[in-house]
């Protein structure tokens, strides 16, 4: 917007304010040391108004200076127009052609309307996010399935005991045992569900910043809208760093170069050989394969962690349900790679649902601050969904102990909510 058009609004606002105070133009002009003719030109938006003059006018008209300042009105007018464009305004016919006058005459009511519209918009967005989470959260879906299964078993078994007449002592004992087992499972699962739902409220938003960025990246890709569209400041900062990294990677290994090399490579493509052919570091090639997803890598995902095992990047592979941030499975080959830096580990894994994924994991050590600085380790794992069933020798992995049904897993560190009797160390 040009300064002239900005002043159109400012001039109108000055005039509206003066009239609201029933002050004469000549009187106000004299008080602030300008001619009545010049104030008339300002009020009719034919002269720019500098900050000093704005301050004097504001003091004379008993209004905060920023109420008259350039730019502020445009933002408010845009906010009022946005409020008028909301579906709830259908049929109310707000006088859009008088929005400037409304804002000038009733700044307090305008601010209130804008505040309400913004709050309603924020709540609507939160509601949509929560709704998405309720229908897509793998933790929630798994937990609800568990509850439903336990309730079904309890209902059928209890009805048998009450309604089926004569039942042998052996069957009666088994049904009582089953009821006891299912009631325990229901109790634990319900507690876990309540804690999970409480976390929604505690967060005050639909997802953690990491989840927000992951959803944004999955939906929009790195070529998507500006990260400033993300709701939280933390998510925006995280996305900006991520985009910088992606852009640096793309500059180091452009799409055309990578796509050409993949097309020329034999099938299946070996990323390690590809890195050699391209004369690029393997970690760069893995990141770029997950980003570009060229033929042979459709549906690929990428997980990255630092030396403490904390996941620093999570781009889900197709069909690979990510746990909540902060959770992971100790059996992911990503963590094996941390123990053997500079070695590419290829391993086929299978999820509890039976989905197979080819994985390639690679860790490297860095000393970004020289010999006196700390030794840092980080690792990447590229996941590629397999067509058809997983091979028999695939490594069984899970999403995270709490929602993993592999009760005899030797890496279990906490009980699964899926079965109450499961304990750490596979004590089932």
């Amino acid at each position: 917007m040009t300064g002239r058009s900005a002043n159109v609004l400012t001039g109108t606002r000055i005039r509206e304010r003066r009239l609201a105070l029933s002050r004469r133009q000549a009187e106000v002009a004299r008080s602030i040391g300008i001619s009545a003719a010049y104030l008339n030109l300002i009020e009719h938006n034919r002269r720019p108004v500098g900050p000093d003059l704005i301050a004097r006018l504001a003091a004379e008209l008993e209004v905060p200076a920023d109420e008259l300042a350039e730019g502020r009105e445009e933002i408010r007018i845009a906010a009022l127009r946005e409020a008028a464009a909301h579906p709830v305004a259908v049929g109310t016919s707000p006088e859009l052609d008088q929005v400037t006058e409304y804002l000038a005459r009733y700044p307090g009511w305008s601010a209130l309307l804008i505040a309400h519209a913004r709050r309603a918009g924020g709540l609507e967005r939160q509601l949509v996010d929560l709704s998405d989470r309720m229908t897509q959260d793998p933790y929630l879906l798994t937990t609800l399935h568990e509850i439903l299964s336990a309730v079904t078993a309890v209902r059928s078994t209890a009805a048998i005991l009450v309604e089926e007449g004569e039942i042998s002592p052996e069957w009666r004992r088994r049904f009582h045992q089953n009821l006891h087992q299912d009631s325990q499972r229901l109790s634990l699962t319900a507690q876990a569900l309540v804690a999970h739902l409480d976390s929604f409220e505690a967060e005050g938003q639909a997802a953690t910043p990491q989840e927000e960025v992951e959803a944004w990246l999955a939906e929009a890709g790195a070529d998507g809208p500006d990260p400033s569209t993300l709701a939280s400041d933390a998510a925006q900062a995280m996305a900006a760093v991520l985009l910088d990294g992606l852009q640096a990677d793309r500059a180091a290994l452009p799409d055309a170069v990578l796509a050409g090399a993949v097309a020329d490579a034999g099938r299946p493509v070996d990323p390690l050989r590809l890195a050699g052919l391209l004369d690029r570091p393997l970690d760069l090639v893995l990141r770029r394969l997950a980003d570009l997803r060229p033929p042979g890598f459709e549906g690929a995902g990428l997980l990255a962690c630092d030396g403490s095992g904390v996941l620093t990047l999570r781009r889900a592979a197709q069909g690979f349900a990510l746990p909540r941030p902060g959770d992971s499975c100790a059996l992911w080959p990503l963590y094996h790679a941390l123990a053997v830096p500079q070695v590419a580990l290829s391993r086929t894994v299978v999820t509890p649902e039976g989905r197979g994924f080819a994985t390639l994991s690679y860790a490297q050590r860095r000393q970004p601050r020289g010999l006196d600085g700390p030794l840092l380790t980080d690792a990447l794992m590229l996941l590629m969904p397999l067509d058809g069933p997983a091979p028999a020798d695939a490594l069984p992995i899970g999403p995270a102990c709490r929602i993993c049904p592999r009760l005899d897993c030797p890496a279990r560190r906490e009980a699964s909510i899926l079965m109450p009797q499961a304990g750490p160390g596979g004590r089932a």
Binding site: L148, A153, S156, G354
Partner: protein, 119 residues
Amino acid sequence: MKMDILMIEDEPNIAEAVRFLLSREGWQVGLHADGAGAIEAIRAATPRLVILDLMLPHRSGTQILDDLRAEGDAALAATPVLMLTARGQSAEAGARADEVLAKPFDNDELRQTVRRMLP
């Protein structure tokens, strides 16, 4: 003797209750507890009715149903299927299975449905 009903259900306590109920009606009931190997179990048993849970490990109920309907043996492919679902999943499953029963179900409702499908 040909099996009357093969139930494919990974929840052992549900499977046990259902087998008890239906066996009392005089039907011979077999169990298979995993999506993996389910179609092989159906081929081996050639039951008159399959009770199939929708959410199974390794292979879902709808995938198993697709496998069954694609069987080369026309009689086997036409085996009636009663799908057990969560209520929200009933519409999708109902379009594919012969009958659908939403969990948690009433025991009498289960018996009547099976009786209707297996006169």
